[in-house]
């Protein structure tokens, strides 16, 4: 209780220093949050793209309907396959007209082949699996040709992997910067109170007692900074939505809380290191 009070007293005693540390924490976490949002939205975008991953096996002309139905049943039993749609020539034509309305006239004749549209289960939509399934379909005698988003899918996956690695590396770098800044501001706070600490030791205050207010102070600053960063991230995201007309997602409640908690953890870690080092020296 006393230490909580003295932590708050530290705020009021050095408002500028406290403000500085809170804002630096907020900005480092904000940078972290912005990157997190980018990663989150790339991931969401990829997910919707992935959902559209389909393998289309075009069927030879005049393939008997029964054979198509039997093949469709067989393929549906592959463990990787979610479901199979049979698209007749008429349906293919209708779809083409719907998707390319302006060029309606081009599709008068029945030159669009029927196809089996194969959709894979989530987790099996990576380029390797897609290629393997495509090869199996191509081997069927009544399949003329197989198409899938070949190059395109590979590129997307590469992008996602790059985003993931970059996110991890940048995130860690930002976290390190935040911890260093917190450590530095706490060190300033410790130095500002060096005399008080010296007297505390002289009259027999325990190390833990001396440390505690700084740890609490660091955590509180981390929490405040984290909350501020969350608000800033939200504002930034709304601004992007408005000016770029982008459909974007925000962190869900659990991730938001995780962000604030990691702010608290950074504050705690930074101040623990800083206070520990200073107290060993005095």
């Amino acid at each position: 209780m006393l230490s909580l009070r003295s932590a708050f007293r530290a705020f009021s005693r050095a408002p500028l220093l406290s403000l500085l540390s809170v804002t630096t924490i907020a900005f480092s976490l904000f940078a972290f949050g912005l990157f997190g949002l980018v990663a989150l939205n790339i991931r969401n975008a990829l997910r919707t793209v992935e959902e559209r991953v389909e393998i289309r096996a075009f069927l030879a002309d005049k393939t008997p309907v029964e054979q198509i139905a039997a093949a469709s049943d067989d393929i549906a039993k592959f463990p990787e396959v979610e479901h199979v749609d049979v698209v007749t020539q008429e349906q293919a034509l209708a779809r083409a007209k719907r998707e390319l309305g302006e060029f309606k006239d081009v599709f008068e004749s029945e030159f669009l082949p029927a196809s089996l549209d194969v959709k894979l289960k989530p987790g099996f939509r990576d380029p390797n699996t897609v290629r393997r399934i495509a090869d199996r379909l191509r081997a069927l005698e009544f399949v003329d040709d197989v198409r899938y988003g070949d190059e395109w899918i590979t590129q997307l996956y590469r992008l996602r992997n790059i985003a993931g690695v970059a996110g991890g590396v940048l995130g860690l770098a930002f976290a390190a910067v935040a911890i260093i800044i917190i450590g530095a501001t706490i060190r300033m706070a410790v130095l500002a109170r060096a005399k008080e600490i010296a007297i505390m030791r002289l009259v027999g205050a325990t190390d833990w007692f001396i440390r505690r207010p700084f740890l609490i102070e660091g955590s509180i600053k981390g929490i405040v900074g984290g909350t501020l960063a969350l608000i800033l991230s939200y504002v930034a995201m709304r601004a992007l939505q408005q000016y770029l007309h982008l459909e974007t997602a925000f962190f869900d409640q659990r991730m938001a809380m995780l962000g604030v908690a990691s702010g608290a953890l950074m504050g705690l870690g930074g101040s623990a290191v800083s206070v520990g080092r200073h107290l060993r020296k005095v």
């Binding site: 010296a198 030791r201 002289l202 027999g204 205050a205 325990t206 007692f209």
Partner: protein
């Protein structure tokens, strides 16, 4: 109660020269002793070893059942709660009043809140500063500030008072006042160990005098008395 047993102290960054050389010393319960000697003789080092700010390079310091060889950080805190320590430069907190400074020593050592005001008032009365309880250090004279420091040192009822040149910054009159205070403190049963350059003060009383030079005890009035007697 306090025992130095063949204590040598070499500070890490002193280039190997010893601040204390093979010092053996005993101070009894309730005793009053002066530590004198030229600058650099090792007086402050003796006091620092007593409150375990420093550890001996060899030999051991024993104080009230604790031993420098194996005392834990936690026990150092416990020990210091039973010591009163005062310096030449007062070491008061500028943003706290006289009573705030005295209360500080109790607040940070876990004394229950309701007990604090009574203890603080008693300590300030003991040093003759009850009327200045709400004054800030900058509103007090040097002698008064040093009394606040004594009140802070006494508020935990120490068994020994350690004073490192407590009158170093004070004029003759204030020095006399502080010395009288130390005698009163000693009369109530607290041992006093005081480092000083003020030889007039030492000669004006017949308290024990331990004289140091180059890290060694060169004269101890207790030994002299023993030999004479």
């Amino acid at each position: 109660m306090i025992r130095f047993d063949r204590v040598t102290k070499i500070y890490p960054r002193s280039g190997g020269s010893a601040a204390l050389r093979d010092v053996t010393l005993h101070i009894a319960k309730g005793e009053f002793a002066f530590l004198t000697g030229p600058s650099g003789a090792g007086k402050s080092t003796i006091l620092k070893l007593l409150y375990m700010e420093e550890r001996p390079t060899s030999g051991e310091v024993r104080i009230s059942g604790y031993n420098s060889a194996d005392i834990s950080p936690r026990d150092i805190s416990k020990l210091r709660r039973r010591l009163g320590i005062v310096f030449q430069d007062f070491r008061l907190l500028e943003d706290r009043t006289a009573e705030g400074n005295v209360a500080f020593a109790l607040e940070v050592t876990g004394v229950p809140r309701p007990l604090i005001p009574g203890k603080v008032a008693r300590a300030l009365t003991a040093v003759g500063l009850a009327s200045k309880a709400t004054a800030y250090p900058r509103e007090l004279s040097g002698g008064e500030q040093q009394r606040v420091a004594f009140a802070r040192a006494l508020v935990n009822d120490p068994f020994v008072l350690i004073a490192d040149e407590p009158t170093g910054n004070l004029d003759e009159r204030a020095t006399r006042g502080i010395f009288q205070l130390l005698r009163d403190i000693n009369a109530s049963g607290t041992a006093v160990l005081m480092a000083t350059h003020n030889l007039d003060l030492v000669r004006s009383s017949d308290y024990r005098c331990i004289e140091m030079n180059h890290g060694e005890v060169v004269y101890d009035s207790a030994d002299a008395k023993r030999k004479a007697g």
